[in-house]
Amino acid sequence: MIGNFSFTRALLLTALLLPGWATAQSAATPQIPLLNQPALQSAKAQRSVLLAVTRAGERLVAVGERGIVLLSDDSGASWRQARVPVSVSLTAVQFVDAEHGWAVGHLGVVLHSADGGETWVKQLDGVRAAQLALASAEEGGDAKLLKAAEWLVADGPDKPFLDLYFSDRRHGYVVGAYGLILRTADGGASWQPWMQQVENPEGLNLYGIRAAGGALFIAGERGLLLRSSDNGQSFQALDSPYDGSFFGLLGSARGELLAFGLRGNAYWSGDRGASWQRIDTGVEVALSAATRLADGALLLASQAGDLLISRDQGRSFQHLAGPAGASIAGLVAAPDGSLIRVGLGGLTRQPRDLPSAQR
């Protein structure tokens, strides 16, 4: 049955254009209990769908479906479930230090933790995000933006945030479906809709946001690549080397950049996105996650479970392990060097020396 998700983008767009899409919603915006329903403490949390994993100092934090947040203080040997005030799928998580972190997810949810992930507070949800967008559009007076914001309110909180980037405890962005982007300068206490500052006229999905070499980059649907060189004040579209969708980004302080997405496509830029070169990955399925290991090597994963490694800052990758393992939605290196993978089948932990031993 899982094999049946053979749906085309076109079908979804058709659905979008159906009259029922917006009107049915405006008639009766459904109550969404999940937005206020604390996540159930579940014995099956570790085997649930998990979509991202990161480090909060020495701690590992994984997030996924039904508001599940898992914490490990022993490099992934054992996990416990954190208290989360919502039950929606969480799609991405980032910690700026051992205490402060944010997680984003479906229904426009933004969560914040100030205690290393133990407890979380909801800072934003889709209902409020839409209202913010409407208020900001009314202020701006742009007719097109206003119409989009009205739609956003009418649709209800059906749009997910897909990624986030915080540079410190105060400054950060959350990005998501249909070009949704909001910015905060006070650690999430208030949020500003940032759509009007982004060159994304088609409202394409924004899948990843990262910093590299002093600039901010966003990657998204249909080859969308955006860069901000003015500290996030505005984002300009770059010449994209690829028509298909990018699912993620990985940047380095020196400005090297890796963008990856559909059908094993990955591109490398050594000049802050000005020019891109294609990387031969030898993988046919979508690339879903990348992470930097302690020794500086880069690890790139496919949704099917392929692992690729680069020791030259992303210029080239070698295939490490085939798709025999479980699917991968996110991965990170644990403090002890082992590799933590999350995906549709939950958590898996690979022993520490696997990536290096493979060479």
Partner: protein, 811 residues
């Protein structure tokens, strides 16, 4: 039973028939014995007619009959059945390689040939059949332009290593791993949906025939490194029917063993043959009547002919015993037959009525198969009144008994009646009428009761073994089922919650969100492995719609997007009109605790459900039906015990008119019932449709023994005998028959222990146990209890009292 008093008195010995007054005896006796040829003619005609009918009896193992159709869960399921396409009847055939992998030219060729043969079997729903070779098995991949795809085995397949490699790649991206192809690539499945009605013949699918055809194919293709595993409901039924045929052979074994026991007891070929003949006639009539009334023999009611035969044998033996003693004394065989009829007809009737009560009580259980069992058994017992209480004495009056045997019987009786000739075994049993032994027996009985009760508290409801509980755990089918669960993501224990919505509204967000919430609650329960529903599919589908990106894995509150999922969703998750959703809950087992937890959580969720126009209903799927069955069985268990003991106590009271005697008769039965439950715990059996009737049958038939023994004891004690004397007389007169009955019944049902059908084996073991323990209870515990409950003084006072009122006493 009061006739027993007179039955104990010896009748006058009449050597010549002419000396006997044919007008003596009651109306019934005269009606029967003065028209013997007519009775025989009637029986002959009945035997011919019913014998012809019996030849038409069908074998059946209907699923619906074994479930409580009146329980709301089952009623919900039956009501929605036509909409639940995911629960349609299908067969899964796994074709496994012993070495290497399925990506092998030889394997794929074999699979293709088997696939083609199965495709041609009548009853297969051809368009929906699925295997690596069917064009419906496709792979898909997301590309920048949209989707790419094709059949898993490409049109260009030629068996070359390159094309085998292509098949391997296609399988990997087909999403069929765990579904059609095992994760270890050592087997693949042919999925065969079946049509309930064959459109060509218009007849219902014959499970027996279909199953045999599958076995032929299995024999043809298995071997040379290929193993074939077949599972599916139709295969279970097929195996049950095959088992039923085999069980009929056990009947022959049961007959032979009981004949041997009877011959050992009588040493008379003639009379043994007659008793066996009459008992077989009873079975023949019973089956003939069933066929005439439109019943089939199913794996449950197939037990009844064994019981009828065994009961017939013991009653027949009793008749023969009487006639033999009379003939031995010199009475003419016709007169002896009449005397025996006079003495034992009433006793036999009472005993058969008790049996009938035991059976009839089963009617309170609202499960068809048990009610059928009750009817079948009642018919059998009714038939026995004709064949063994009437026909047998008449036949004996013509044929008589062997002279040697008669003489031997008389010798034995005479020897036994002289005080010093007591058989050592009788002397041993007599010990239990003395204080110390009686006390010991009662204390042991009490200890057993307490211990047994403590163990019986762990008695579980429902089936406890994995796989198809109808069949033995090590049966071919269950080994195949274990193979399937090991290699494929398909649990056989499925609990389905049905969700009814208005037409075309099944994919509305609030409904799907509620289904998803229930699914998540259920997944937390121990024993729940996973769930599947339209909600779960919608999450995956949303990811699929969004270029396969996992981050879209969520139920999006957008009815347009959710509705779009419908077009590509498999039909088992929702119905044609989009008004019924199925939430599949896959369980690790079908233990009663697991089912009860799922039911409890679901019911609690449903009670809090406030969605207008949306109705959550329990329960379909094998586990859903089983949950309902467990609930009914658990309730029926108490009800049945109440009724069966109520009826038995009433019958005993009517017979004995003494609550002390009732206690003495019923307490041993209670002990047996408790021990039987303890045995079930020990053997790992649960209370289920098959074991439920056993307790009623055990108690109903078990009370016979107490009736036989205690009625004689009471009569003798009322006549002034001591307990010891009275018990000794009871042993001589009926005790032997009690033992014979206990042993023949136990043997007849014990043959079931070898049945390939698990629940028949369970029934056989439990019934044999109950018959034997009831017999021991009547012979050991009953006299011991009588020592305390029926002291001599009781009768002295009584006889004085009655003597005052009735100056003309028995003495």
């Amino acid at each position: 039973m009061n006739d027993n008093n007179s039955s104990l008195e010896q009748q006058v010995v009449i050597g010549r028939l002419e000396d006997f007054d044919p007008r003596s005896g009651n109306l019934g006796e005269r009606a029967i014995f003065n028209h013997r040829p007519w009775v025989i003619l009637f029986c002959l005609l009945a035997t011919l007619l019913l014998g012809y009918q019996a030849s038409k009896i069908g074998l059946n193992a209907s699923f619906e009959k074994t479930i409580p159709t009146s329980h709301p869960y089952v009623a919900n399921f039956l009501e929605q059945r036509s909409e639940l396409s995911g629960l349609g009847n299908s067969i899964r055939i796994a074709v496994a390689v012993e070495e290497g992998s399925i990506f092998d030219q030889g394997y794929l060729d074999t699979l293709a040939r088997l696939n083609d043969e199965i495709y041609l079997l009548p009853g297969v729903d051809k368009p929906y059949m699925k295997s690596l070779w069917t064009p419906t098995t496709r792979w898909t991949a997301v590309t920048e332009e949209g989707l790419d795809g094709g059949t898993v085995i490409p049109d260009s397949y030629d068996g070359s290593p390159a094309s085998l490699e292509e098949v391997r790649t296609n399988v990997a991206r087909s999403g069929e791993i765990g579904q059609l192809v095992a994760a270890n690539f050592k087997s693949s499945v042919i999925f065969v949906p079946l049509l309930e009605i064959d459109p060509q013949t218009g007849k219902a699918l014959d499970a027996g025939t279909f199953s045999r055809r599958l076995e032929v194919l299995r024999d043809k293709y298995q071997g040379e490194g290929i193993q074939i595993h077949i599972t599916g409901f139709t295969k279970i039924i097929g195996d049950l029917i095959a088992g039923l045929v085999q069980v009929m052979l056990f009947f022959v074994a049961a007959v032979l063993v009981t004949v041997a026991v009877l011959y050992w007891y009588t040493r008379c070929v003639r009379s043994t043959a007659l008793v066996v003949l009459c008992s077989l006639v009873a079975v023949l009539w019973q089956i003939g009547l069933l066929a005439s009334l439109g019943y089939d023999l199913d794996p449950y009611s197939a037990l009844v002919p064994f019981l009828v035969f065994a009961i017939g044998m013991s009653h027949g033996a009793q008749k023969m015993n009487g006639i033999m003693q009379d003939v031995g004394r010199g009475t003419h065989r016709v007169v002896a037959a009449r005397y025996t009829f006079r003495r034992l007809f009433a006793a036999g009737m009472t005993a058969l009525l008790c049996d009938a009560v035991g059976f009839a009580v089963l009617m309170v259980i609202e499960i068809r198969v048990i009610q059928d069992l009750a009817i079948t058994a009642s018919i059998g017992v009714a038939v026995l009144i004709f064949t063994n209480l009437i026909l047998l004495p008449i036949l004996l009056s013509y044929i008589g008994v062997g002279a040697k045997a008669a003489a031997r019987s008389l010798r034995a009786e005479t020897a036994e009646l002289s005080a010093n000739g007591k058989h050592p075994f009788w002397s041993f049993l007599d010990l239990f009428t003395r204080r110390s032994w009686a006390l010991g027996a009662c204390l042991v009985g009490l200890a057993l009761a307490i211990g047994g009760f403590a163990i019986s508290l762990q008695l579980k409801v429902g089936d406890l073994d994995p796989g198809a509980p109808e069949l033995r755990p090590d049966s071919r089918y269950n080994r195949d089922a274990a193979f399937m669960t090991q290699n494929y993501a398909a649990s056989s224990d499925i609990f389905v919650v049905m969700v009814k919505t208005p037409e075309d509204q099944c994919t509305r967000y609030p409904t799907l969100a509620a289904v998803d919430a229930l699914a998540w609650q259920l997944e937390q329960l121990p024993g729940v492995e996973s769930t599947n529903s339209m909600a779960a599919l919608s999450k995956i589908a949303t990811a699929g719609y969004n270029e396969g990106n996992f981050k879209w894995y969520e139920l999006i509150p957008n009815d347009g997007a959710l509705g779009a999922v419908q077009t590509r969703a498999p039909r088992e998750l929702f119905n044609q009109g989009c008004s019924l959703l199925s939430l599949y809950v896959y369980l690790a087992d079908h233990k009663a605790d697991t089912l009860a937890r799922v039911v409890e959580t679901s019911e609690a969720f449903i009670a809090q459900q406030r969605l207008p126009e949306v109705k959550f209903m329990l329960a379909a799927g094998s586990a859903g039906i089983e949950a309902a069955t467990n609930i009914v069985v658990k309730k029926a268990m108490r009800e049945m015990l109440f009724w069966v003991y109520g009826a038995v106590i009433l019958l005993c009271w009517v017979t004995f008119r003494s609550w002390r005697a009732v206690l003495a008769a019923v307490l041993p039965l209670v002990l047996t019932s408790i021990l039987c439950e303890a045995l079930m715990v020990g053997l790992g059996m649960g209370v289920k449709v098959a074991t439920l009737p056993v307790i009623a049958l055990g108690v109903g038939i078990g009370i016979d023994y107490a009736l036989y023994v205690l009625s004689v004891i009471l009569a003798r004690m009322r006549a002034g005998d001591s307990l010891s004397e009275a018990y000794y007389r009871a042993l001589l007169f009926t005790g032997k028959v009690v033992m014979l009955t206990g042993i023949t019944l136990a043997i007849a049902v014990a043959t079931w222990a070898f049945s390939p059908i698990k629940f028949q084996a369970d029934m056989g073991i439990l019934l044999a146990f109950m018959f034997l323990v009831n017999m021991l209870g009547a012979l050991i515990l009953l006299p011991a209890l009588a020592y305390f409950l029926l002291p001599q003084g009781l009768f002295e006072k009584k006889s004085e009292a009655s003597g005052l009122l009735q100056p003309v006493g028995e003495a």
